[in-house]
Amino acid sequence: MNFVSYAFLLLLGVVLIGRLVLGPRKIESPYVALLLVASVLFYGWHVPMYLLILVGSTAVDYVAARAMGPRPTVDAPASQRRTLALIASLTTNLGLLGFFKYGDFGLESLAALLQSIGVEVSLPTIGLALPMGISFYTFQSMSYTIDVYRGRLAPCERFGRLFLFVAFFPQLVAGPIVRASEFLPQLDRPRRLRARVVTEGLYLIVLGYFLKMVCADNLGVYVDGHWNSGYEPGASPWLLVWLTLLFSGQIFSDFAGYTAIARGAAFLLGYRLPLNFNSPYVAGTFKNFWERWHMTLSRWLRDYLYIPLGGNRGSSARTYVNLLVVMVLGGFWHGAALPFLAWGLLHGAALAVERVTGMHQQRVPRPLILRLAWFLVVQLIVLVTWIFFRSETIGDAVRFIGNIGGGGDGPFPAEVFWVGLLFLLPVIVMHVWRALVEGGQVRDLGPFGKAITSGAMLFGIASAYGGSDAFIYFQF
């Protein structure tokens, strides 16, 4: 089910009524059962068959965690059975992800490789649609078994509780990637639906719909309509720079919008989901960018990949390799395509270079001019990486970048600039406001400010909604 649909609003409304009637403290069993049913309905709305994958992978994780036995201690370290259970869980999750997401890419790459050494083969393709949200829920599921394996979390006693953690419908399809240790304890924590919760939840939902329907969808019209012209010689460099800026606004609005709706809906239903975006375009360093962009993926990669690889505890060279590996895999997580790999590689390289220069240490006092210059470098490179992210192939991205420096005299329609600016402006204002708040120049919006902003955003939704209902991150 899509957030931008009346079906979703109806479902959310029904579950909210259910909360009032069945679960005023939100821990009552009938209300939890209703959440489970709603989550199943939400996920099965488009392809019910894929529920089997969701249930199957969760069942494997449930059994694996239960099979791990008691927590390891100094006297009784982790048993072999414990390790085997973890391997079973990781193999299942990564196997499903690999099969659906990377199967065809792997087969095509293998065929190309064989062809390059003179072996002509015709390999079959899997050709299955990617189950919605599989990249998100497999990562969530793995965090559960890894945390149980590490002894940081007790295994779930009831399957339904674990399934609700994985399938909780506000965050099922496109995150945030919640950890079991964040969600499961909330199941037993009573939380009444107070007025403050309602207003805060509604504010987040309105903000999310505004970002998605007004900013992302309208920016998307111009990005989609003109992006391919960037591959052709003679394209206006100013148009291409502008399109890159519009795309950076579009992808932020699209994904941050989804997350805001997810967090708002979850809040109304009695659950807190972690922040996923914190004005990433004010980041002064690459490290800080990843502390602000898709924060739950960043910390997942940090805690379950970067640190186990050794993090920054080894030699400098090893740290740089770890950064590159993690970011390339982070890019690959987005999709089985070379531009995503390039995107991840560029970010990994940028993080490594930043570490070499020491610019990643934000608390070190530096002259304003240097901080400003590095901020511009960071944001410029982030923009360049978006070109790879948005392009179909690496060749397209390189041509696009080449045309920016090419001095072409192609058209730059005035509407693309002015209307694009109109819908980029809210994103700019959000970021500037956040920078001012963090700098202590202004105070963050209070309830009164949020109320006025909500009214204005509702007006924006009613009078300037865009024409799409698809979220970019649904494809991941």
Binding site: A7, G455, L458, F459, A464
Partner: protein, 336 residues
């Protein structure tokens, strides 16, 4: 206290809406209209949303899955019209209903937008197992192809439940937009001032009802059939002949017609009909006009369809006389 914040939010919204509505009503902006706000939905409960800007061609879903009574009506049809949007614009509801109602013949108009070719319609005939006695195809040069539009390909991948969901979402969105934009405009649509294509379709006979005042512009003239016979493309003939044989196996005879359009050679349709040995309906009517370079204006469509149906009457008498002998069936759905 939190109730006060909700009141502030609503007051802000109300203020902005009022200010915009006032600007729209009392400034030169009043000359700009939104089609979605002005459209008049047919009162008939058998009329469903076929297409609008937000949802695209919903009728592809409805007909492909035979939603509601559509499947039954299609199966009951003795005369089936197939073609693209030129056919749909060229066969107005009132004329078609009057013609077939007077003869007591069941019919269905199953054309589609998106420059849809034969492939999609043929798939519906097979999957809903239709057995019309006569099929009238608008052979306008692009119709006899096995290709389907991207939109149709998407529709063909979805199931019945998906179609029901899509239609429900489309109807809800349409309803909200119709009512919302009577109060405040959509600022971008008002700025661009582009007409919106809004169509309702009868589930009973498949005819379109286009609710779009700006379409009634006079338009330009369409050249009429000069009786010439062009050379029919070999591949087109092969596709048409296979279709003819497949339909014959279902007990249906094929008739070709050609709704005039600036870029349509009626000589092509005539050549194809000769190759297939089937009747070709292309009456000559003076002063036929199109509004957009492709489709007939309502006034031209009325006059042209009357002439076309008069020619069809002769074909009915010679090819399917048993239909004319059938008792007149009462039509249950009033023309809205």
């Amino acid at each position: 206290m939190h109730g006060a914040y909700v009141a502030v939010a609503l007051a802000t919204l109300g203020g902005l809406v009022s200010a915009t509505a006032a600007l729209w009503a009392w400034t030169p902006l009043r000359h700009r209209t939104m089609d979605i706000a002005e459209t008049i939905r047919p009162l008939s409960r058998f009329a469903y949303l076929a297409a609008d800007r937000r949802s695209g061609h919903v009728d592809h879903y409805a007909l492909y899955q035979g939603l509601g009574e559509i499947a039954d009506r299609l199966r009951a049809a003795d005369v089936l019209f197939i073609g693209n949007s030129r056919l749909m614009f060229g066969l107005p509801q009132e004329q078609v209903r009057a013609f077939f109602g007077a003869r007591g013949i069941s019919y269905y108009v199953m054309g589609f937008g998106h420059t849809e070719g034969l492939g999609f319609a043929e798939d519906i005939v097979e999957r809903l197992d239709l057995h019309p006695k006569l099929i009238v195809a608008n052979a306008d040069g692009t119709f006899f192809t096995n290709e389907v539009s991207e939109w149709a390909a998407l529709v063909m991948e979805t199931g019945r439940f998906d179609a029901l969901k899509y239609r429900a979402e489309a109807e809800a969105t349409h309803w909200v937009r119709r009512h919302l934009h009577r109060v405040i405009p959509h600022v971008l649509e008002l700025y661009r001032n582009e007409p919106e294509f809004i169509v309702y379709r009868s589930s009973r006979d498949g005819t379109w009802r286009v609710e779009w005042d700006r379409m009634t512009n006079d338009g330009a003239g369409v050249p009429m059939d000069d009786g010439r016979v062009d050379e029919a493309d070999v591949r087109t003939v092969a596709i048409a002949r296979r279709f003819q044989l497949d339909m014959a196996a279902r007990g249906a005879q094929l008739v070709l017609c050609s709704i005039p359009s600036p870029h349509v050679s009626q000589g092509h349709g005539r050549a194809l009909a000769e190759q297939l040995g089937v009747p070709f309906l292309a009456p000559v009517v003076d002063d036929i006009r199109h509004f957009d370079g492709s489709h007939l204006t309502p006034a031209s469509a009325r006059r042209y369809s009357e002439a076309l149906l008069a020619e069809l009457d002769g074909v009915l008498r010679t090819h399917v006389p048993e239909l004319l002998g059938a008792p007149v069936r009462p039509r249950e759905d009033p023309v809205p």
